[in-house]
């Protein structure tokens, strides 16, 4: 417990590298916000922690690689999960060769479809939230996720990735079509409607 190390601080949570039962783990600790009253803060922290843990669990059941959950502390807002050793997809995406990148995109698409088949919406699919480990893509940070059956939320979920690829990997942004190719292979619903939805969202021209 003494060798805890802060590896990332976001607006909502601290990500801490720690140990748990002699394993290397990551703790996601949602920070108390003093600007909001206790009645709101406590409910938000515990419900979001619970929701995120639930999504991670359900994603795993769909065969999507996610960190293993070790402990969920609703009172303090801490999720303890396995540390995924590997490369952030963001860091390697533009450096790997074309063929590998295509395979990676297809794999990403397949995984998103597996989530969407059970109405699991990640909420923040960017290449920063994927880790390539052992040739598998792990999805992390379900903090903005939800369970939602609407086509809209699936479209938005994919659109977030599309925009992230355009801004962060502008040279290879066209590879998003391979993401859709992979998605199509696993998605149970009508892929045409999903594609149409993405086009609609792009037309709204608001998100970025």
């Amino acid at each position: 417990m003494n060798d805890e190390k802060l590896i990332y601080q976001g607006a909502e949570a601290k990500i801490i590298l720690s140990t748990f039962l002699s394993k290397t783990v990551v703790k996601k600790h949602r920070i108390k916000k003093t600007y909001r009253i206790k009645e709101i803060d406590e409910v938000l922290i515990s419900s979001r922690t619970k929701e995120e843990a639930k999504l991670i669990h359900l994603a795993r059941k769909q065969g999507v690689c996610v960190p293993s959950l070790f402990d969920v502390d609703l009172t303090n807002g801490i999720i303890t999960m396995s540390y995924i050793k590997g490369d952030r997809v963001k860091d390697i995406f533009d450096t790997i060769d074309k063929k590998k990148r295509k395979e990676l995109c297809i794999m990403i698409g397949k995984n998103i479809a597996r989530l969407h088949n059970k109405d699991l919406i990640h909420g923040d699919i960017t290449t920063s939230n994927m880790i390539l480990s052992d040739n598998k893509v792990f999805f992390i940070d379900f903090g903005l996720g939800e369970i939602n059956h609407e086509l809209e939320s699936k479209g938005v979920d994919l659109h977030v990735l599309m925009e992230a690829m355009e801004s962060t990997h502008s040279k290879n942004a066209n590879d998003f079509e391979y993401v859709l190719e992979g998605y199509e292979k696993e998605y149970h619903g009508d892929i045409k409607r999903v594609k149409k939805k993405i086009e609609d969202i792009v037309k709204r021209g608001r998100y970025r």
Partner: protein, 330 residues
């Protein structure tokens, strides 16, 4: 350079006159005349009639306050959008008339961007803020990124001011209800749980409004309901602002819009900024609400960056989006 700005996007017709001194905005005058409906909300045409009736008087008052002559004016600026069509057209017509009459250039500006630029112009150390813009119709988190002012989060349904006004109408308050709700809220003690609706960086208030109305109808005290509305909506606004600051790694936050006059909202955003080691700025109240000075200032900044507008470019745009503006001055 001296610029006269005409604001008329919604409930107010306002004329501001500003001067540029070493890239800082000096407000010479800032007169505002607000339309107060006898009952209900703002009817666009009634508001426009009000603006047409008073615009000349407000111009005269503003000139008098600034102690300048019409020949001292170098630029006529006006709010081109977004806003209510009839109101925008009235302000634009006044601006075109003045520009032709004085033979001075004209500049149509984006109302939302003006809220941000007046902060940068009048507050010395405010340089690159995330703006939390909270007014009746608009609720947006705006910041500069990749050459434009972009909206990072906004309301998916109604503006926060609108939400407060609608609740105000439920309990029989006239427009604007925000200040009265703030007073009631100070005496609220019991928190009544309300929907806290954040979707990513966006936010929604209509569900909360309905729930608050139900509480009131079911006999909860006005004080407690107002307290709960403020605590919930302002916490959500502060949270999306913080998210934008974290994502963009910005160390400044600026408040704008009429709701920014609320002390509780200010307090929350200040607290959030302090926790993040960031700085919080709020222009003085007459520059927070819809006003002519901010329109005058943005027009001036645009003009000095080399932007020119012909009369035929001065058509209004009710849906003028923040990110449609090419920001050539930064």
């Amino acid at each position: 350079m001296i610029s006269l700005g005409i604001e008329g996007t919604a409930h107010s017709i306002a004329i501001g006159i500003v001067e540029n001194k070493d890239n800082a905005c000096i407000v010479l005058s800032n007169m505002i005349k607000t339309f107060h409906p006898e009952s209900g909300g703002i009817h666009p045409r009634e508001a426009a009639n009000h603006h047409a009736k008073y615009v000349a008087d407000v111009i005269k008052d503003s000139m008098k306050k600034a102690e300048i002559d019409f020949k001292d004016i170098d630029l006529v600026s006006f709010s081109q959008g977004p806003g209510l069509g009839p109101c925008l057209r009235t302000a634009a017509t006044a601006a075109r008339t003045l520009s032709l009459q004085l033979e001075k250039p004209i500049m149509g500006v984006n109302h939302c961007v003006a809220h941000l630029e007046i902060g940068r112009g009048t507050i010395d150390s405010c340089d690159d803020p995330v703006l939390l813009y909270t007014s009746g119709a608009n609720t947006q988190v705006i910041a500069f990124a990749e050459g434009k002012y972009r909206v990072f989060g906004e309301t998916l349904d109604i503006g926060i001011g609108n939400c407060l006004d609608k609740f105000g109408r439920t309990i029989g308050l006239p427009f604007p209800s925000g200040p009265v709700i703030e007073k009631y809220a100070k005496n609220g003690r019991k928190y009544l749980p309300l929907p806290y609706s954040i979707k990513g960086m966006d936010i929604a208030f209509s569900g909360l409004l309905t729930a608050a109305q139900q509480y009131y109808k079911n006999g909860e005290t006005v004080e407690d309901v107002c307290y709960s509305i403020q605590e919930t909506t302002f916490a959500a606004l502060t949270e999306v602002t913080e998210r934008a600051m974290a994502q963009l790694e910005k160390k400044e936050v600026l408040l704008g819009g009429g709701v920014a006059a609320n002390q509780r909202l200010r307090g929350m955003v200040e607290e959030m900024a302090k926790e993040r080691d960031a700085r919080c700025f709020a222009p003085r109240i007459d520059l927070c609400i819809d006003n002519g000075a901010m329109i005058a200032w943005l027009g001036l900044v645009m003009y000095q960056s080399g932007i020119r507008m012909m009369l035929e470019d001065t058509g209004i745009d009710q849906r003028f989006r923040t990110d449609m503006v090419d920001v050539s001055w930064r």
